[in-house]
């Protein structure tokens, strides 16, 4: 709402934009802190409209479950069962009542599956009709929306793609169709399932970058060029800087890799300690570090080794790729230098210092060759912000590098800068770019210090293209690392199937009313059981078919396989990848997988009743069992209801009675 740029590693911006849309329609001005769980919303927050969208999508998932089962070829009864199960699943209710994205993701997942099924069913009757096109396109759009809400949506997308390609493969093998027609079919699918999602995905980012044009708290993670394209923040400083770095330019150099923290090349009066703690010696020259804050000591002057002046001539002589330069530290006028002395924390690399002449046999080695990494031609000029450069030492061919280690107290916990052999290979931590830049005018040191303290001002504006910004944002999103690996309510994927974990979402400030993410135990257990039963039955049928024993008629076999591919497959692709993820995981990550499992449950039940219960009395007994089981699920739903809605304050003994598993963190107040 405030148009401030942010970066969220969990997913592309579509989900956040949808929530913001709710806020926008409710007239929200974005002025709320969202800082403390349990805080009261102030009157300017339209909670109702902000929560409307997740609630709506959560509610729509129920009829969609019904539709999906129908389209899979199961009876109305089974479809009804699926819808009713979705309806009384406590975890889904909790998740969709609040401003959270899972219900939106589940909605789009189901929409993608449903529209693909509608599409493939209309394939049999009227290909290339209006409804055929509609459902095909909707599949693509729903897939891209799912991916756009959270990255895990990509698993459902891949599943739909896999099913679609199997169907397409059958289509190619269909000899009744002409070649041209097959080609048309394939092209239509490729357009709808590959091109449309890609375009939609770009569109989300386009809108996102148009909407959030102001600088914000996550600026630091982005490159200088990206930051300069946002309003406020860095752009205010760099706006109007001269583009081309010339001899005599005053610059700050930012490390492009920026890990563990973004920082600038820095030096200060202090020297390296004569002897380190581990007994090694140093050159005792002035420290050069990387400093994560803006500081007047971050300024360096680019000097021509052949001349003495530290000002820009007129006309300015630009520095080009391959030129040899010296870098002079602005505040101390010492030269950036490196030599064959082991660096303080990375003894395999060279120490970088600002040269102090102690009149001992250690000559200064302060010539650096400029290597523009992203140059277009070898005659490229060193440009502010845009050029990514390596500074390669002439004598020893090492490049200036951020080692990532923090110096001890003598280095004020700043980051270590070393010289590493260029031949060790290219790494982004060796690459730097000019961030702030101005042409130096003062010859005298005193004046220059004054000049360094004053902010730079001039006027040329430059903007990045959308694609460049998109690619960078995308890359940072995928590589951003979450720091806190431990959370009170985090859990491992193994806990999810058995519901061995819960998340406390909210506790009333005074009473013991509380909201928990807790699933309906009966549904979770029976859904997992259904998956196992499905897998066993499927294997059994498959082996017997291989021996040419057909238990099922061909069409119900195909239906059985498709239901399994979409529902059991949907569960597998949405669940198993979490075992390989290293981020902090929570119970709600399992909900998309759970929805698919719930869809499988009535399908398996109907199959058992249709094909395995041969006699009518057995069948009625089975139906009676199903009804009993469902009422049991309803009972569990009602029992857990106070924790789902948080509308009733329970006594400690009632809460204790609800704590069915020791691992559930139900909060009990001590009076």
């Amino acid at each position: 709402m405030k148009r401030i740029f942010f970066l969220d590693g969990s997913g592309p911006p579509f989900g956040h934009m949808l929530l913001a849309l709710g806020g926008y329609l409710g007239g929200f001005d974005g002025n709320f802190l969202w800082n403390r769980i349990g805080a009261e919303y102030s009157s300017n927050v339209p909670v109702w409209s902000l929560r409307l969208l997740p609630a709506l999508t959560g509610a729509l998932s129920v009829p969609m479950a019904y539709q999906i089962l129908l389209e899979l070829g199961f009876s109305h009864c089974a479809a009804m069962g699926a819808a009713l199960l979705m309806l009384i699943e406590n975890a889904l209710i909790t998740q969709s009542r609040l401003m959270l994205l899972e219900s939106v993701l589940i909605f789009f997942n189901l929409l993608a599956v449903l529209s693909y099924l509608k599409f493939s069913n209309s394939q049999k009757q009227r290909p290339f009709s209006l409804s055929w096109w509609f459902w095909l396109m909707l599949t693509g759009v729903a897939c891209s929306c799912a991916v756009g809400v959270k990255y895990v949506g990509v698993f459902t997308y891949l599943l739909v793609l896999a099913v679609a390609s199997v169907h397409a493969w059958h289509l190619i093998g269909d000899r009744t169709l002409s070649h041209v027609r097959v080609l048309c079919h394939l092209l239509a699918r490729a357009a709808a399932l590959l091109v449309v999602p890609a375009l939609m995905y770009l569109l989300f980012f386009y809108v996102h970058l148009i909407l959030v044009y102001r600088s914000g708290p996550h600026d630091q993670v982005m490159s200088s060029a990206f930051q300069a394209s946002l309003e406020g923040g860095l752009a205010r400083i760099t706006q109007g800087q001269p583009l081309e770095v010339a001899y005599g330019s005053q610059v700050t150099l930012k490390n492009v890799f920026g890990k563990p923290v973004p920082c600038w090349l820095h030096s200060h009066q202090s020297t390296y300690p004569m002897i380190y703690e581990n007994g090694r010696g140093s050159s005792h020259q002035q420290q050069v570090t990387c400093y994560p804050f803006k500081d007047v000591n971050n300024w360096w002057i680019v000097k021509d080794p052949g001349r003495h002046q530290l000002v820009v001539g007129s006309p300015p002589r630009p520095v080009r790729h391959g030129d040899v330069v010296q870098l002079v530290h602005g505040m101390t006028t010492r030269f950036l230098n490196t030599h064959d002395v082991a660096a303080p924390l990375s003894p395999h690399s060279q120490e970088v210092s600002c040269y102090v002449d102690y009149n001992i046999s250690m000559p200064s080695q302060n010539l650096w060759r400029l290597d523009i990494v992203n140059r277009e031609s070898d005659a490229d000029v060193w440009k502010t912000i845009l050029s990514e450069v390596r500074l390669v030492h002439v004598n020893t061919s090492v490049a200036l590098k951020l080692s990532g280690a923090h110096l001890p107290d003598w280095g004020f916990r700043q980051l270590e800068v070393v010289g590493e052999k260029v031949s060790r290979g290219y790494h982004e931590s060796m690459v730097w770019n000019v961030e702030e830049h101005r042409y130096g005018k003062s010859q005298e040191q005193k004046e220059r210090e004054l000049e360094l303290h004053s902010p730079a001002q001039m006027d040329v504006s430059r903007n990045l293209s959308f694609m460049a910004r998109f690619l960078e944002l995308q890359w940072r999103m995928l590589t951003v690392k979450s720091d806190g690996s431990e959370h009170k309510y985090s859990s491992s994927p193994l806990d999810w199937v058995t519901l061995d974990t819960s998340i406390a979402y909210w506790l009333h400030p005074r009473t013991s009313a509380q909201i928990h993410l807790l699933g309906n135990v009966v549904i979770w257990a029976s859904a997992s059981l259904a998956t196992v039963v499905y897998a066993l039955l499927f294997l059994w049928y498959l082996l017997r078919r291989r021996r040419s024993i057909r238990d099922l008629p061909e069409d119900s076999w195909l239906r059985w396989v498709l239901a399994g591919a979409l529902c059991a497959g949907g569960w597998a692709v949405n669940y198993l990848p979490f075992f390989m993820m290293e981020k902090t995981l929570f119970l709600y990550h399992y909900l998309p997988a759970l929805t698919f499992q719930i869809l499988l449950l009535p399908a398996v039940l109907q199959h058992i009743s249709d094909h395995l219960c041969r006699s009518p009395p057995l069948r009625s007994l089975f139906s009676a069992l199903v009804v009993a089981w469902y009422s049991c699920a309803c009972h569990v739903f009602i029992t857990l209801r106070p924790l789902t809605y948080g509308d009733k304050s329970l006594s400690p003994s009632e809460l204790k009675a609800l704590r069915w598993k020791d691992s559930w963190d139900i909060l009990i107040r001590k009076y």
Binding site: F257, K259, P260, K401, L402, S403, G404, K421, S423, R424, G425, Y426, H427, S429, G484, E486, H487, K488, S490, L543, R546, R547, S548, M580, E582
Partner: protein, 632 residues
């Protein structure tokens, strides 16, 4: 002495000296190295300290010779596999030549490393699988059984050397499943026959390898019975097995009772005993109370009042732990821990055993197989702070200087069951109780096996690359982007550099790309290449160029078949048969000569070179630095 010889040679010596050590790889490879050394008269006294050391009078040729012998067997194996798969002599010859002239393979096989042994077993498994496939028309005949069980044996060997052997197991498994699927679909065979086939495979490919694999561990633990550098990685109960360890042949009271003097060891840390000393936490870090960190010292499990009859501590009891030296109680409170801010600080508090209510801990036994009493060494216990409900654990972080660089102990409010928060009792003194010998507490073989696997997996996961370092990436490997320096940096050093033969790499890079053309023989090899290559993209651990070599073997074999087929196709498209034959032969010969010439150019890398670096025009390798990233 070169590169990883420092590890594997040293581990070979450990076998000869029978000292216990720990490594992230399974033991078979090092055991074979040790055996080769033992047979060739090496006495295990060389120290294997750092690359570049001289062997001097030590007899190392046996170990190197053994690895080199296995490495040289790769060539005939590859020849036989390709011959069997493609039935084409030229293709087999080409493959053999590619491998013979591969500088990388040569470099790896020359030294005491695990890779030649691993590659030997992989190729042997592949060969026996291919051979057994070709006996498929005579099931249950003697050669059929022979090759099938040989496959199983080689699989066990591959897995026993490195966990990478898992990939060849997957390949054989895939081959077996598709084989069985065909048999099942063959309606002329009765179900009983299919059942027999299935049982034979389960026997030879699952039961046999597992038995052998377990047997290597049995030998490993039987041979290494002396205490050594690997002790600390394992639990106290495990250490009691090793002679020389202070727990060996010790006798202590079995069950914990009130009034006992004990040491408490963390299950996760290498060497981590609960410890305290007379130093206070510095100003500004939580409460200024006595530090508690991980190191070795004594604690006293005390009763509220030292009552006369011996009372055993049981699961769920509320206890107080008093530090013996300083007589302060183990204490926690709502102050943040020094390094892990989300946890609570743990301190020593009180004078002569009188503290406050924050000194009470509930003791819980995690594995209650031994009953509710707390058994020395074997019981895994958790200590839960009564007031805050947090669990005593170690964060694994090293305290700064004020904490003597010992490990931090915290009380974590997150009640997750991790090894960090599980402890066991090691030393135990209680004059009122009878001492028993620790031998009865020794873990059984399956427990040892499980524990050593857990430790290995943890060790492997610990090998993470650093953020700001240049690391080898899987995509570098097939294109020979950068080699691996085995020894020597400066121009006066003896330098060996691991780099594949660039010409064969050039040929081979085409191999996987084009091989869809040949589905039958090539398919197996393509699968092998993919299985040995692509999983590395998903691995989080640090990777080196030599990890590519098993995949390289498959890609070389693929290349042999591919170029043979391509040349044949080219030749046949030319009309007259004599010309076609000429083109074919010339093509093959030029490939052979090309690889041989490039081997001639690059052989100093493998055999070692002295002299100026390649950038220098005076160097013998001048002009051979074809890629900027090669640094020999």
């Amino acid at each position: 002495l070169l590169w990883d010889e420092t590890h594997f040679g040293k581990m070979g010596s450990y076998y000869i000296n029978r000292t216990f050590f720990f490594d992230v790889h399974p033991p078979l490879g090092k055991m074979l190295i040790g055996l080769a050394g033992y047979l060739s008269g090496y006495d295990g006294t060389f120290l294997f300290q750092k690359p570049g050391d001289k062997y001097e009078h030590h007899n190392y040729m046996g170990m190197r010779g053994f690895c080199a012998f296995l490495g040289s067997l790769l060539v005939p194996f590859a020849y036989l596999i390709v011959l069997e798969l493609s039935k084409s002599l030229p293709a087999a010859l080409l493959t053999a030549a590619l491998l013979t002239f591969d500088t990388g393979c040569l470099t790896l096989s020359q030294y005491i490393l695990l890779d030649p042994i691993l590659m030997f077993f992989i190729m042997a498994a592949m060969l026996s699988m291919v051979k057994y496939n070709s006996c498929a028309n005579r099931p249950f005949s003697a050669p059929w059984w022979f090759w099938l069980s040989l496959t199983g044996i080689n699989l066990a060997g591959a897995l026993g050397v490195k966990f990478v052997g898992l990939f060849i197991i997957l390949q054989v498994g895939w081959n077996t499943i598709s084989d069985l699927w065909h048999l099942l679909g063959d309606l002329s065979l009765s179900v009983v026959t299919v059942g027999k086939h299935l049982t034979a495979r389960i026997l030879c490919l699952i039961v046999l390898p597992l038995t052998l694999y377990t047997a290597t561990y049995a030998v490993h633990f039987r041979v290494l019975n002396k205490s050594g550098p690997g002790d600390g990685f394992f639990s106290s109960a495990f250490q009691a097995r090793l002679s020389g360890n202070n727990l060996h042949n010790a006798s202590i009271p079995e069950h914990l009772a009130y009034g006992s003097v004990i040491t408490v060891k963390n299950l996760r840390m290498a060497i981590g005993y609960l410890h305290s000393h007379r130093h206070l936490y510095p100003e500004g870090i939580g409460a200024r109370q006595q530090q508690v960190n991980i190191n070795a010292c004594f604690f006293l499990a005390d009763p509220l009042d030292p009552s006369f009859p011996v009372e055993f501590v049981r699961h769920g009891d509320i206890i107080r732990l008093e530090h013996k030296e300083t007589s302060r109680n183990l204490h926690s409170h709502y102050h943040e821990a020094p390094l892990t801010r989300k946890h609570y600080q743990v301190t020593g508090y009180g004078i002569n055993g009188t503290g406050d209510s924050n000194d009470f801990w509930r003791i819980e036994v995690v594995n209650r197989r031994f009953g509710n009493r707390i058994r020395v060494l074997r019981s895994r216990i958790r200590l839960i702070h009564l007031v805050t409900g947090c669990v005593l654990g170690s964060s694994g972080k090293v305290l700064p200087k004020w904490g003597w660089e010992q490990l931090e102990v915290t009380c974590t409010p997150y009640l997750k069951e991790t090894l960090n928060s599980i402890w066991n009792v090691e030393d135990h003194i209680n004059p009122k109780l009878p001492n028993i010998s620790l031998d009865v507490l020794q873990p059984s073989f399956p427990e040892i096996l499980l524990e050593s696997h857990m430790v290995m997996i943890r060790g492997n996961n610990g090998l993470k690359p650093k953020d700001n370092e240049f690391t080898s990436k899987p995509w570098h490997w097939p294109i020979n982007y950068q080699g691996l320096r085995f020894s020597g940096i400066n121009d006066t050093d003896f330098r060996v550099y691991l780099l594949g033969n660039p010409v064969s790499a050039l040929c081979a890079a085409w191999g996987p790309g084009l091989s869809q053309v040949l589905l039958q023989g090539g398919g197996q090899l393509l699968l092998g290449w993919m299985l040995h290559y692509f999983p590395f993209f998903l691995m989080g651990r640090i990777l080196y160029f030599h990890h590519y070599f098993p995949a390289m073997l498959f890609s070389s074999m693929l290349t042999g078949i591919l170029w043979d087929t391509l040349l044949r196709l080219c030749a046949w498209s030319l009309a007259s048969s004599s010309l076609a034959r000429g083109v074919y032969v010339v093509g093959l010969l030029s490939l052979l000569l090309g690889t041989a010439y490039s081997f001639y150019l690059f052989h100093p890398l493998a055999y070692g070179m002295v002299g100026p670096l390649a950038q220098d025009p005076r160097s013998p390798m001048a002009g051979l630095k074809w890629l900027e990233s090669w640094d020999f």
